[in-house]
C-alpha cells in the first residue's frame, strides 16, 4: 500500500480498498465496541452511578448528576423499543431530569429560603424519591425481560440489592444521619452493585440485541445542547430575578399629631438625631414618651476593601489599610425610659450608591445581662420577639420616601459560633437577626432595629450590643445563600460573595441607674 499514492484514489476506490483490506482483520476486539446493546447499557449504568453518588466539591454535586441524567436519556432512548419496561425507563428519565433541572434552577434563587416554598419542596422531594425507586424497579423488569427472551436465567440479586440500597439511603436521609462510616460503606456497596449489574449486562452482550435502529431525526448532541441551553437560561433567570427578598414597600406617612410633634422636639433637645427620628415608625416614636436620657454613638464603617499603604517607621516597613470611603453610617441610640427601662435603636444608612442589591442582614448580639421586653413566642427554634422588637427599612425615590418591614426580624435561639463551640461554650439567646433587601434603584437606603428592655443586674457597669451588617456583594454564589444564612452558619470571615461590617453600642449604663 505504501507504493501507491492513496490520495490519487477517488472515494469509491479507496472505500473498496478499505473494505477489501478489512476482511483480513481480526475481529474480536471490536465485537463489544459495535454491540449496540453494550453501548446503550453502559450509558444506563454509568448514568445510574453518576446520579446517585454525589461528590460535594468543585460543583461536582451538580455536574455529575446532570451528566448522569443525560447518559440515562441517551441509553434508554436507544433501548426504548426493546420492551415496554425500557420505554417506561426512558419516559421516567424525562421528568426526573426535569425535576433535577428545576432543583438546580431553584438553587439559583431565594425560593428555598422562603417559608412558602417549604411544602412544595417537600412534595417535590418525595416525588423524586418515589420516581427513583420506580425507575430502579422498571429497569429491573426490563433487564429480566431481555434475559428471558435470550433464554438466560434472570438474576435478581443485583437489582434487589440496588432497591434495598436505595431504601436505606432514603432512611438515612430521613433521620438526617451525619456520620461518616455508614455513607462510605454505602458508596462501596453501590459500586459493587453497579459492577454486578455491569457483569450481568455483559452476559447479554453475546446475545447482541438487534436493537432495531430507528432513524435519528434529532441528534443526541442537539438534544443535549438544548437541555443545557434551557438549564443555563433557567439559572440565569433565577439569578437575575430571584436574588432579592420580596419586600412590601409603601410610601411613608409621617405623623402630624401634636403629641408626635412635641415628642420629636423633646427628643431632639435631648440629643436624638433628627434624621433618625424621621425614620422611626409612629409606634416606635411614641414608645419614647417619658424619655429621660438619650445616649448617641455614631460610627462610619467601610464596606470596601480599602487600599494598602506602606510606611517606614524606624527600620520597619509597616502596612496599613486606608479607606477612602466609609459607606455605612451606624447611629446607635439608647433612650432611657422610666424604671430603668431602655429603648435601644441601631440605625444604619448607606452613604454611597452603586452596590449590588442582593440580600442584607443585620445581626445584633446584645449584652447577656439584658432582658428583652415584650411578648415572644418560640417556633422551630426561633424566638419571635413580639411587639417590642421592631424596625423598618427606608429609601428615597423621586421625592418620596418608601418604607417596608423586614422580610424577617427574629431572635434565633442559637447562632452557631465555631470558635465558642470548640471550647464548649455557646452564645446566649440575646440575638436578633433581620433579613431584608433593598431595590436596585432609590437612594439614601437606610433602616433600623429597635428593642426594649432592662439590665437584669443593676450592678452591671456597661451595656454592650454588637451590631454586624452582612452585605451580599454579588449574585454569583451558588447555591444561593442569603446574608442571614451566612450569619446563622457562624461564618466570621469575608469571602468573594459577602462582606461583614461590625460596630457596637457600648456605654456606661450604671451612670444612669437610679
Amino acid at each position: 500500500m505504501n507504493e501507491q499514492n492513496l490520495h490519487t484514489f477517488d472515494e469509491k476506490e479507496f472505500e473498496a480498498l478499505l473494505t477489501q483490506t478489512a476482511m483480513e482483520l481480526p475481529p474480536e476486539q471490536m465485537v463489544g465496541g459495535v454491540n449496540p446493546w453494550r453501548n446503550a447499557i453502559n450509558r444506563v449504568l454509568w448514568g445510574f452511578g453518576l446520579i446517585t453518588v454525589t461528590l460535594n466539591f468543585l460543583g461536582l454535586q451538580y455536574i455529575l448528576p446532570l451528566l448522569g441524567y443525560l447518559l440515562l436519556l441517551q441509553g434508554f432512548r436507544m433501548l426504548r423499543r426493546e420492551n415496554t419496561w425500557f420505554r417506561v425507563c426512558w419516559l421516567v428519565t424525562i421528568p426526573r431530569l426535569a425535576l433535577f433541572s428545576f432543583h438546580l434552577v431553584t438553587q439559583a434563587t431565594l425560593w428555598p429560603e422562603l417559608q412558602s416554598f417549604a411544602v412544595p419542596e417537600a412534595v417535590l422531594t418525595w416525588v423524586s424519591v418515589l420516581m427513583a425507586l420506580f425507575h430502579y424497579i422498571a429497569f429491573w423488569n426490563a433487564l429480566n425481560e431481555i434475559r428471558l427472551r435470550a433464554g438466560v436465567e434472570p438474576k435478581n440479586g443485583a437489582m434487589l440489592g440496588l432497591i434495598f440500597w436505595y431504601g436505606v439511603m432514603c432512611l438515612l436521609g430521613l433521620i438526617q444521619y451525619n456520620g461518616f462510616l455508614v455513607p462510605v460503606g454505602m458508596i462501596l456497596l453501590y459500586i459493587l452493585i453497579l459492577r454486578q449489574l455491569y457483569k450481568l449486562s455483559k452476559e447479554l452482550d453475546t446475545v447482541g440485541y438487534c436493537i432495531r435502529p430507528a432513524g435519528i431525526r434529532i441528534s443526541t448532541t442537539l438534544i443535549n445542547g438544548v437541555i443545557l441551553a434551557l438549564l443555563l437560561a433557567g439559572l440565569l433567570c433565577g439569578k437575575l430575578l430571584g436574588s432579592r427578598f420580596p419586600m412590601d414597600w409603601q410610601k411613608q406617612e409621617q405623623g402630624t399629631e401634636p403629641t408626635v410633634i412635641a415628642l420629636r422636639e423633646q427628643l431632639t433637645e435631648k440629643g436624638f438625631p433628627a434624621e433618625v427620628l424621621d425614620d422611626l415608625t409612629q409606634e416606635d416614636l411614641l414608645e419614647c414618651l417619658g424619655a429621660q436620657n438619650v445616649v448617641v454613638q455614631q460610627e462610619e464603617l467601610p464596606v470596601n476593601e480599602g487600599r494598602q499603604v506602606s510606611e517606614m517607621i524606624g527600620d520597619t516597613l509597616h502596612y496599613t489599610t486606608v479607606y477612602d470611603q466609609k459607606e455605612l453610617l451606624f447611629t446607635h441610640i439608647a433612650v432611657q425610659l422610666e424604671d430603668d427601662r431602655w429603648k435601644m435603636f441601631h440605625h444604619f444608612r448607606w452613604q454611597e450608591k452603586g452596590r449590588f442589591p442582593g440580600t442584607e442582614a443585620l445581626y445584633l448580639d446584645i449584652d447577656q445581662h439584658w432582658t428583652m421586653e415584650g411578648k415572644s413566642t418560640t417556633e422551630n427554634g426561633v424566638i419571635h420577639g413580639g411587639e417590642r422588637l421592631t424596625g423598618q427599612l427606608l429609601y428615597d425615590d423621586a421625592g418620596s420616601t418608601y418604607t417596608a418591614p423586614y422580610f424577617a426580624l427574629e431572635r434565633p435561639e442559637h447562632v452557631e459560633n465555631k470558635v465558642m463551640s470548640l471550647i464548649g461554650m455557646s452564645i446566649g439567646t440575646n440575638q436578633v437577626l433581620g433579613d431584608f433587601s433593598f431595590p436596585a434603584g432609590g437612594r439614601n437606603q437606610r433602616g433600623y432595629v429597635s428593642y426594649e428592655g432592662r439590665m437584669n443586674d443593676s450592678k452591671q457597669i456597661y451595656f454592650s450590643a454588637w451590631v454586624t451588617y452582612v452585605h451580599q456583594k454579588n449574585r454569583w454564589n451558588f447555591p444561593v445563600t442569603t446574608a442571614g444564612t451566612r450569619v446563622e452558619q457562624g461564618t466570621t470571615h469575608n469571602d468573594a460573595h459577602f462582606k461583614r461590617v461590625q460596630g457596637a453600642l457600648q456605654f456606661e449604663i450604671i451612670k444612669y441607674n437610679k
Binding site: 490520495h7 473498496a16 482483520l25
Partner: protein
C-alpha cells in the same frame, strides 16, 4: 446455560446445545447478517447455514485464540458475504463497498500485506474512530444503522466517515496533491 457448557454439548452433538445456541446467539447473528443481506428470507437462510457450520466446525474453535463471539461473528459475516455473491444480479449498480470474490495467491499476499499496514494505522486512531471503521468496513453496516445506534444524524456520520478516510489515507502513506 453457560457458553462453555453450550460448546461442550455441541461438540457432543447434543441437540440441547444447538437449541441453546440459537436461542442465545440468534439475535447477534441476525444483527451481523442483516446489513449484508437485507431480505428477511435470505437472512433466515444464512442463519441456518451459519448454525450448520457451527455444528460442523465447532472443533475448529480454539478458546485460546479468541472468544467464541468473535469467532462466531466472523463466521456469520463471511457466510453472509458468500451468500450475497451467489445472489443473481438485481440490476442495481454494484455497491463498490462489498468485497470482490476469492482472490488468487498473489492477490491474497498483497491483501495480507495491506491488512498488516491497515492494522498498524488503525492503532493510531481513537477508539471512536476505530469503532466507526469496523462498523462500516468490517460489519458493512449502512450509514442509517450506524447513525441510529450512535445517536447521530446520517449527515454527521457521513462527515465522520469522510474525515476518517482522509486520516487513513494520510496514515497509510501518499502525499496529498495540494
Amino acid at each position: 446455560m453457560e457458553i462453555s457448557e453450550m460448546i461442550r454439548r455441541i461438540r457432543l452433538r447434543d441437540p440441547k446445545g444447538a437449541e441453546a445456541f440459537l436461542a442465545r446467539f440468534g439475535p447477534l447473528l441476525r444483527y451481523v447478517i442483516a446489513p449484508i443481506l437485507p431480505q428477511r428470507e435470505e437472512q433466515e437462510e444464512c442463519l441456518q447455514e451459519v448454525a450448520l457450520k457451527v455444528w460442523e466446525r465447532i472443533e475448529r474453535f480454539d478458546p485460546e485464540r479468541g472468544n467464541f463471539t468473535a469467532w462466531l461473528t466472523a463466521l456469520a459475516k463471511n457466510t453472509a458475504l458468500n451468500q450475497r455473491r451467489k445472489l443473481p444480479p438485481t440490476g442495481e449498480p454494484l455497491d463498490g463497498t462489498f468485497p470482490s470474490p476469492e482472490p488468487g495467491p498473489e492477490e491474497r499476499m498483497l491483501r495480507q500485506e495491506q491488512a498488516a499496514q491497515l492494522k498498524r494505522a488503525l492503532l493510531e486512531l481513537s477508539e471512536g474512530e476505530r469503532n466507526l471503521f469496523y462498523r462500516k468496513y468490517y460489519y458493512l453496516q449502512p450509514v442509517a444503522q450506524i447513525a441510529a445506534e450512535l445517536g447521530q444524524t446520517e449527515r454527521a456520520v457521513e462527515g465522520r466517515l469522510y474525515r476518517l478516510r482522509r486520516k487513513l489515507k494520510d496514515l497509510l502513506g501518499g502525499e496529498r496533491d495540494e
